[in-house]
């Protein structure tokens, strides 16, 4: 049974996923973008087809024995760790994009995330398309209050999720995203992903590291009780003005320190931060080499002047967005506790 899912991101970008079959209740977790799901979309910017396909990789350049490349086109068979897949992307550089993906992840870890790899590729293409339209999909947490937003970019393990949870629970903030937010002009738009998981965590867990067996069972029950409803207890913030950008850096020092950083450094960092997200990793799957980054480099090797290769657009977009925003970096200790949130909360308030 073919299943079609439609998504609309703030009327900026539309995409469609079709697949051979759904994954039942697992899709409550598996499908990351459900917040943006709609009944129907016309002329999607991206169409993702999951399932068997026949590639049209005739007349291609071949890079490193396995990447098939021609203008606006990419195909390869790939494998790493416990995953194996083949992917074809037409419209890799321009125009409407179609991703054909057929893959499999072995092992228990992937049970709840059967479409993990392709959603990672999809989000990368969403980022690329948004960038062409003048939006920057930042790897960052974001929260807002009275349409004033704080954005908190950081690498993995910097407790972005825990901070969001506490800003919402204790600070009375609304949620924009714990992994990505969209930046445009002087505004932040929400990009909540895996909202059901976040909803449960916010309600029941002290922080993101509290996933023990007991909580996993509670979560399963919690999902079961809400399986038909799309709503979560989380209030999603409206587009808000960027009030402050605060990099979160985790350290193995004991103290919390804050310093100001320059616009140039900030732009470089935000771009590197996004590129580093291409190195997908999910515990136990053994994947850590960054498929999209390799695909884009292989494409750049053949077409060095293409917009995939140069990415000049991001620089301009970010410069115009952040020109008048105060920017700081805050170093936090190795372990998260309420003290971290309190310090951060106090710091944001001191800027009022």
């Amino acid at each position: 049974m073919i299943q079609t899912l439609n998504y609309n991101l703030h009327n900026i970008l539309k995409f469609k996923i079709t697949r051979d079959r759904g994954h039942g209740l697992r899709d409550l977790i598996n499908l990351k973008f459900s917040f943006f799901e709609v009944e129907e979309v016309d002329n999607p910017d991206i169409t993702l087809n999951i399932g068997k396909f026949t590639p049209s990789n005739k007349n291609c350049y071949l890079v490193d024995h396995k990447y098939y490349i021609k203008e606006n086109y990419f195909y390869c068979k790939d494998s790493e760790g416990k995953a194996k897949w083949e992917v074809e992307i037409s419209g890799f550089e321009d125009g409407e994009t179609t991703i054909n993906f057929n893959g499999r992840i072995k092992g228990f870890q992937s049970f709840m995330n059967p479409d993990f790899i392709v959603q990672n590729l999809l989000i990368r293409l969403i980022e690329y398309k948004l960038s062409k339209k003048g939006y920057f999909l930042a790897h960052s947490a974001g929260i807002s209050k009275n349409k004033q937003a704080y954005i908190l970019p950081g690498r993995g393990g910097t407790f972005k999720t825990s901070l969001c949870m506490d800003f919402i629970r204790r600070g009375g903030f609304e949620f924009l995203g714990d992994d990505r937010v969209i930046l445009h002009k002087d505004k932040v738009l929400s990009f909540p992903m895996s909202l059901r998981v976040f909803g449960f965590m916010c309600k029941h867990l002290p922080n993101e590291d509290s996933w023990n067996t007991f909580n996993k069972i509670r979560f399963a029950k919690w999902l079961w009780d809400r399986k038909d409803k799309r709503d979560t207890p989380i209030k999603i913030g409206e587009p808000s003005k960027i009030k402050h950008l605060l990099f979160i850096v985790r350290t193995n020092k004991e103290v919390i320190t804050v310093r100001e950083i320059s616009l140039k450094e900030t732009i470089d960092r935000l771009i590197t931060n996004n590129r580093l997200e291409d190195f997908i990793s999910l515990g136990g799957m053994g994947i850590n080499s960054g498929p999209y980054l390799k695909y884009a480099l292989a494409y750049s090797y053949i077409f060095p002047d293409s917009s995939v290769a140069t990415q000049k657009k991001d620089l301009e977009v970010l410069k115009s967005i952040l020109e008048n925003v105060p920017i700081h970096e805050i170093e936090i200790p190795n372990n998260y506790d309420l003290n971290v949130f309190n310090e951060l909360h106090r710091f944001t308030q001191s800027l009022e």
């Binding site: 350049y61 071949l62 350290t251 193995n252 020092k253 470089d268 931060n273 060095p304 290769a309």
Partner: protein, 342 residues
């Protein structure tokens, strides 16, 4: 002199030391000794970097922690990583200054790949600091003129160079070449021998031991599907046909496609291809560089690729002729003849 300590000198431009204190198995499987053998030299006292192989305790206090396992502080990086069955950990310090130290722990699988994963990219970084450019390509020479064949994996770098040596050219390298002020400098790493590139000159000059190794591994491959590549020191084969340094005359960018085609391109276009080529060849080191750059966006490490591009521009003469060659996916002697005919 400590027999665990070896010194290397790359054309008087870059000097480094390897101090090997790893265990018996890692030494048995390790390829590092063979990999840089042709740069081995008398003891050097002021190396540009020193590599310590063997277990170590990281000095990763007071660091920023990225993605839960990359440790960064000023002029310092540490992490553990893995690829398939290979596991390694390494700590590098002093790379922003003159005195660089890299400590590497590996398991036996990683000891076979560590040169390509960590040391070659470090050499690339350091050569860029010296104003030269390491390029991914094979190189041959005749009458003091060098011909560079740059390509990604599968482009026929090794085959082209080997066919050329058959035709009386001198060998300068089959994987890397150094560009220095209009000259090509040799980078003699061991040849990876497969059945498809076993050309007569190699077959004839291979020693009995290497031949036996090659055939044994071939049988093993046919029986089990497990491919272990045979590496041969180029000095074993090309005793009288090696060359150190020649004026770079012609560059061929080889890209596999359906059928043969050749077109002249300009320097700027070549540079674009070459930068992406080197980045693709720098995994997983590229990831470590990006992690460090995230914290220190204005560091030497973060600006390396801009410098690399600029070095290519500076070290390539404007008089060099550059061809972009589309080669068939099955590369053979006919392809070579066509390149040469063109």
């Amino acid at each position: 002199m400590d027999k665990n300590e070896k010194s290397y000198n790359i054309h008087g431009i870059l000097r480094f030391k390897i101090i090997n204190r790893s265990n018996f198995l890692n030494r048995l499987f390790g390829t590092v000794n063979l990999e840089y053998k042709n740069f081995e030299t008398e003891r050097v006292n002021d190396p540009d970097f020193t590599i310590y192989l063997g277990d170590f305790t990281p000095s990763n206090q007071e660091c920023r922690i990225l993605d839960n396992h990359y440790y960064v502080k000023e002029d310092y990086f540490y992490c553990r990583d893995s690829y398939k069955a290979a596991r390694w950990g390494f700590e590098i310090s002093g790379f922003e200054s003159e005195d660089t130290k890299i400590r590497i722990y590996t398991n036996s699988f990683a000891s076979m790949i560590i040169s390509g994963f960590l040391i070659d990219p470090l050499i690339n970084f350091k050569l860029a600091e010296k104003g030269c450019a390491l390029v991914h390509g094979s190189c041959v020479s005749k009458d003091n003129h060098a011909y560079l064949f740059t390509a990604q994996g599968g482009g026929g770098k090794t085959s082209t160079a080997l066919y050329a040596v058959e035709r009386g050219f001198n060998f300068m390298g089959d994987n890397f070449t150094i560009l220095d002020k209009g000259y090509a400098l040799s980078f003699l790493s061991p040849l990876n021998i497969f059945s498809f590139n076993l050309v007569p000159v190699v077959k004839k000059n291979m020693k009995i031991k290497s031949k036996a190794e090659f055939h044994l591994k071939n049988i093993l491959y046919k029986m089990t599907g497990l491919r272990i590549v045979t590496k041969i020191d180029v000095k074993e084969i090309f005793t009288n046909s090696l060359n150190d340094k020649s004026k770079l005359k012609t560059i061929f960018l080889l890209i596999p496609k359906g059928k043969f085609g050749i077109v002249e391109i300009d320097k700027e276009e070549l540079i674009g291809h070459m930068v992406a080529n080197m980045k693709l060849d720098s995994f997983p080191f590229l990831k470590y560089m990006m992690m460090y750059s995230y914290v220190f966006p204005e560091s030497r490490m973060a600006t390396h690729w801009d410098r690399y591009e600029e070095n290519l521009r500076r070290n390539l003469s404007d008089h060099v002729t550059i061809y972009r060659v589309e080669v068939p996916q099955r590369y053979d002697i006919n392809t070579f003849e066509e390149i040469w005919g063109g």
